[in-house]
C-alpha cells in the first residue's frame, strides 16, 4: 500500500505542477502548448546544474560526510534553477504570442521542437552520447530521504505514515505540493490573480479598467514557464534517475489533458493528476503490487496483458474527457491575440 501511494505520487506530482503551469498561461489568455518543451528544457538545466555541482567540494564533501541537509538544499536549488531557466525559455512563446500576436499553437509547437533538439545537440557535444547522467552515483543514493537519516535502523518501521510519506521519498515532492498550494491561492485569492484571470476571460474589459493586459499575460506565461521547467526537473529526478535525454515521455501533453480534464481549476487538477498517476503506477508496477499485504500479487495473477495496463491511463483519460467535455469551460479569450482596436 505504501508503495502504491508513493509511486502514484511520483507520477502525479510532476503532472499536477505542470498542469497548474498550463492553468496560469491559459487563465491569462495564452495557450501554452509548449509545456512539453519547457519541461524538457527545465529537466536538462536542472540535471546539468546538479551534475556540475556534484564535482564541487561543497557538495561532494557533504555527500561523503552524510550532511543530508546540504544535499537536500541542492535539490531545492536545482528546482529553482530549472524553474528560472524554464521561465526564460517560455519568454520565446510570450514574445511571439503577446508582442508579435503570432499563432500560439504554432509558437508552442516550435518550442516543443526546439527544446529536445537544442538539449540533445548540447548533450551530445558535452557527453558524446544522447543522455546526460549524474556525474557520480545515482539519484536515490544522493537525494532520496531515508529512515536511516532519522536514526532508524533497517529493521525498524517508521509507522505507516512515516514509511509512506518520509522513507524513500524526495524532498521535491513536498516542494511541489507547497508551490502548488501557494500559487493556487495567489491565482484565486489575490488581486494579482484576479487580474491575470480577467485577461483570459475578457481582456477588453480588463484593459478598460486600467489593467495592463500585455503585462498580465507575460506574468501568466512566465509563471507557467517556471512551473513547467520545475516540473520537468522533478520528473527527471524522481522517474528518470536524474538524467536528461531530451524526452519526458509526453508528460507535458498529459499535463495539458489533466488541465482540461480538471476544468482549469486547481483542486480538480489535483484530483485528475492523482487518478492519472494511479493508473500510470499500476502500469509500471502491477506485477509487484500487493494491495492488501497477503503476499498474493492479485493484479499479476489476473493474467491481463502488460500492454493493456500501459494503455489504461490514456484510455481512461479519453473516456473521462468524453463525459466531462460537454461541461468544460475554457477561459473565453484563450488563444486570441489581444488587439486593443477590437474593443
Amino acid at each position: 500500500m505504501s508503495f502504491l501511494i508513493q509511486q502514484t505520487l511520483v507520477y502525479a506530482l510532476p503532472l499536477m505542477i505542470v498542469a497548474l503551469a498550463g492553468v496560469f498561461a491559459e487563465r491569462s489568455g495564452i495557450i501554452n502548448l509548449a509545456l512539453e518543451g519547457i519541461m524538457i528544457f527545465g529537466a536538462f538545466c536542472g540535471v546539468l546544474f546538479v551534475n556540475t555541482m556534484q564535482d564541487t567540494s561543497w557538495v561532494y564533501g557533504a555527500y561523503m560526510q552524510d550532511r543530508y541537509g546540504t544535499l537536500q538544499l541542492l535539490v531545492v536549488l536545482a528546482m529553482f534553477v530549472a524553474g528560472l531557466l524554464g521561465a526564460i525559455f517560455s519568454l520565446l512563446l510570450s514574445f511571439a504570442s503577446i508582442n508579435l500576436r503570432a499563432n500560439q499553437t504554432i509558437g508552442g509547437t516550435a518550442l516543443n521542437l526546439l527544446a529536445p533538439a537544442l538539449v540533445l545537440f548540447l548533450i551530445r557535444i558535452l557527453e558524446g552520447q544522447n543522455t546526460l547522467f549524474l556525474a557520480k552515483g545515482d539519484a536515490a543514493e544522493w537525494f532520496m530521504i531515508k529512515k536511516s537519516m532519522f536514526g532508524y535502523s533497517a529493521e525498524e518501521s517508521m509507522g505507516f505514515l512515516g514509511d509512506t510519506f518520509i522513507h524513500k521519498t524526495y524532498l521535491s515532492n513536498y516542494v511541489c505540493i507547497l508551490v502548488f498550494v501557494l500559487l493556487s491561492i495567489i491565482l484565486y485569492k489575490t488581486k494579482f490573480g484576479l487580474r491575470v484571470r480577467s485577461c483570459g476571460e475578457n481582456p477588453h474589459a480588463a484593459d478598460s479598467l486600467g489593467i495592463n493586459v500585455k503585462k498580465m499575460r507575460y506574468a501568466g506565461t512566465t509563471i507557467s514557464g517556471a512551473l513547467a521547467g520545475m516540473g520537468g526537473f522533478v520528473y527527471a529526478l524522481t522517474t528518470a534517475n536524474c538524467s536528461s535525454n531530451g524526452d519526458v515521455a509526453g508528460f507535458g501533453f498529459l499535463a495539458l489533458a489533466v488541465m482540461i480534464f480538471g476544468n482549469w481549476k486547481p483542486l480538480s487538477i489535483a484530483g485528475a493528476s492523482l487518478l492519472f498517476g494511479f493508473f500510470k503506477c499500476l502500469a509500471a508496477g502491477y506485477s509487484s503490487i500487493d494491495i492488501n499485504g497477503d503476499g498474493i500479487y492479485m493484479l499479476r495473477e489476473l493474467g491481463i496483458s502488460a500492454h493493456l495496463y500501459r494503455m489504461l491511463p490514456y484510455l481512461i483519460t479519453l473516456i473521462v474527457l468524453a463525459f466531462t467535455s460537454k461541461n468544460s469551460r475554457a477561459p473565453k479569450a484563450e488563444g486570441i491575440p489581444y488587439d486593443k482596436g477590437q474593443r
Binding site: 500560439q104 499553437t105 504554432i106 509558437g107 521542437l113 526546439l114 500492454h307 479519453l318
Partner: protein, 393 residues
C-alpha cells in the same frame, strides 16, 4: 513590363513563398550562429570545425566525404539525393495530413498515432497474405488501402469526440497517439511477424521483401544508385496534387474550408459542420497512414516493434512541414523535400564533424517559430511593396 512585376509582387502566393524563404534564411542563420558559439566555447571544436559545420549546413547534400588529407570533398552524391527523396515521401504525407486538417480548422497533432496504425495495417497485410498464392502487386495495393482505412478510423476517433462531445481535438489526438503506440506494440507482440530468422536482429518485424512485397522502383534506383529511393515519391506527389484539387477546386473542399474559417457562418449557411469535422479528420488520418505504408512497404525498411515508449518523429514532423508550406498542399511537397534535405545534412554533419544531427532539428524549430508569425512577415513584405509602388508613381 513593370506592371507585370508589380502584379507578381502583389500576388498572395508570391508573398507566401517569400515569407517562407525569409523564415528559412533566418532559421539557417540561427543554426550557423549556434555552431559558431558552441565551436568557439568548446575547446575541442574550435573555429576550424565550426567552419566545416557551417559549410555542411548549407551544402551537406553535395558532400562526398573527406579526401586523404582530411579536407571535405564536394560533388553529386547519388546516395544523398536518392535518400532525400525517399525520406521526403512519408513527410509529404504527414505534412499533407496536418495541412488538410488545419484548413478545416483542426490541429491534427494525432499524425504520429495515425502513422503507427498505418504502419501496423500495411505490415500485417503485406506479411500476412502469402505471396505464392496472391500476386505481390495486389498484396501491395491491399496493404496500402488497408493502411489508409486504419488511419482513417484512427483519425475519425478524435473527430467524433470533437464533433459529438466537444472534446478538444488536441487532447483527444494526444491520447489516441499513446493508445496507438501501446496497441501497435501489443498486436505485434502476439503476431507471427517478429523477425526470428536473422538472429542479429531482435525486436524487429520482417521487411516486406521477406514476402516478396516491395514498392516498384520505377527506374529511380538507376538514377540514384545505392540509395533507398523508389516509386513512393511519385505516388506521394500525385496524392499532394489530388489533395490540392480536392481542397481548391471542388465544392466539398470549399465546404470544409468554410467550416474551418467560420464554423458558425458555415452552420448558418446549412453546412453540416459536425459531419465535416469527422470526415476531415478521417481524411487526415488516411493521409498520415498512407505515408507509413509508403515507408514500410519499400521492402528495405524495418520496424522496431516495441514502440510504446515513443511516438514516430515522422508524424510530429508533419507539423513543421505543413507550417513551413503555410498549409498549401503543393507547398508541402517542397517543404517536405527541404526538411528531408536538412535530415540528410544532419547525418553528414554527424559522420564528418564533431557536431551532430540535432543542429538541423534546431534549425527546423527556428523556422517553425518564425512561421508562427509568417503573417507578420507577409504584412511587412506587402507594406514594403506597396510603398515601392507608391514611390514609382
Amino acid at each position: 513590363m513593370k506592371k507585370d512585376q508589380i502584379r507578381l509582387l502583389e500576388s498572395n502566393g508570391f508573398q507566401s513563398v517569400l515569407s517562407s524563404i525569409v523564415s528559412i534564411i533566418i532559421g539557417l542563420i540561427f543554426g550557423v550562429l549556434l555552431i559558431l558559439v558552441v565551436g568557439l566555447l568548446d575547446s575541442n571544436l574550435g573555429i576550424e570545425s565550426a567552419w566545416e559545420g557551417i559549410r555542411l549546413v548549407f551544402a551537406g547534400l553535395f558532400s562526398t566525404g573527406r579526401d586523404a588529407f582530411g579536407t571535405l570533398t564536394w560533388g553529386f552524391n547519388s546516395i544523398n539525393m536518392g535518400n532525400m527523396l525517399f525520406r521526403a515521401t512519408p513527410l509529404i504525407m504527414t505534412g499533407l495530413s496536418v495541412a488538410f486538417a488545419y484548413k478545416t480548422g483542426l490541429f491534427n497533432i494525432g499524425a504520429p498515432g495515425q502513422y503507427l496504425m498505418g504502419t501496423m495495417a500495411s505490415l500485417m497485410i503485406a506479411l500476412g497474405i502469402p505471396s505464392d498464392k496472391v500476386h505481390p502487386v495486389i498484396i501491395w495495393i491491399l496493404a496500402f488501402l488497408g493502411a489508409m482505412a486504419a488511419g482513417a478510423i484512427w483519425g475519425a476517433i478524435p473527430g467524433l469526440f470533437k464533433a459529438l462531445l466537444n472534446t478538444n481535438e488536441v487532447i483527444a489526438c494526444i491520447m489516441t497517439n499513446w493508445i496507438a503506440a501501446n496497441l501497435v506494440t501489443w498486436l505485434f507482440d502476439i503476431s507471427p511477424f517478429k523477425n526470428v530468422t536473422e538472429s542479429t536482429k531482435s525486436g524487429y518485424i520482417y521487411k516486406t521483401s521477406f514476402n516478396n512485397v516491395a514498392t516498384t522502383k520505377l527506374g529511380l534506383d538507376k538514377v540514384f544508385p545505392g540509395s533507398q529511393v523508389n516509386g513512393g515519391i511519385v505516388i506521394a506527389i500525385l496524392i499532394a496534387v489530388l489533395v490540392y484539387i480536392l481542397m481548391s477546386k471542388t465544392t466539398f473542399g470549399f465546404e470544409l474550408r468554410a467550416c474551418g474559417s467560420n464554423k458558425d457562418a458555415a452552420k448558418y449557411a446549412g453546412l453540416k459542420d459536425k459531419r465535416d469535422i469527422v470526415i476531415s479528420m478521417a481524411i487526415a488520418g488516411a493521409l498520415s497512414a498512407a505515408g507509413a505504408a509508403l515507408y514500410y512497404l519499400a521492402g528495405n525498411t524495418e520496424l522496431y516493434w516495441s514502440t510504446y515508449q515513443s511516438l514516430p518523429a515522422i508524424g510530429f514532423n508533419g507539423i513543421p512541414v505543413a507550417m513551413l508550406a503555410l498549409t498549401n498542399p503543393i507547398g508541402v511537397i517542397f517543404s517536405a523535400l527541404f526538411m528531408s534535405m536538412l535530415n540528410i545534412i544532419g547525418l553528414q554533419i554527424t559522420s564528418l564533424t564533431a557536431y551532430n544531427e540535432y543542429i538541423t532539428d534546431v534549425i527546423i524549430a527556428a523556422i517553425v517559430y518564425l512561421s508562427a508569425f509568417a503573417l507578420l512577415i507577409k504584412q511587412i513584405i506587402s507594406r514594403r511593396i506597396a510603398r515601392k509602388k507608391g514611390g514609382s508613381k
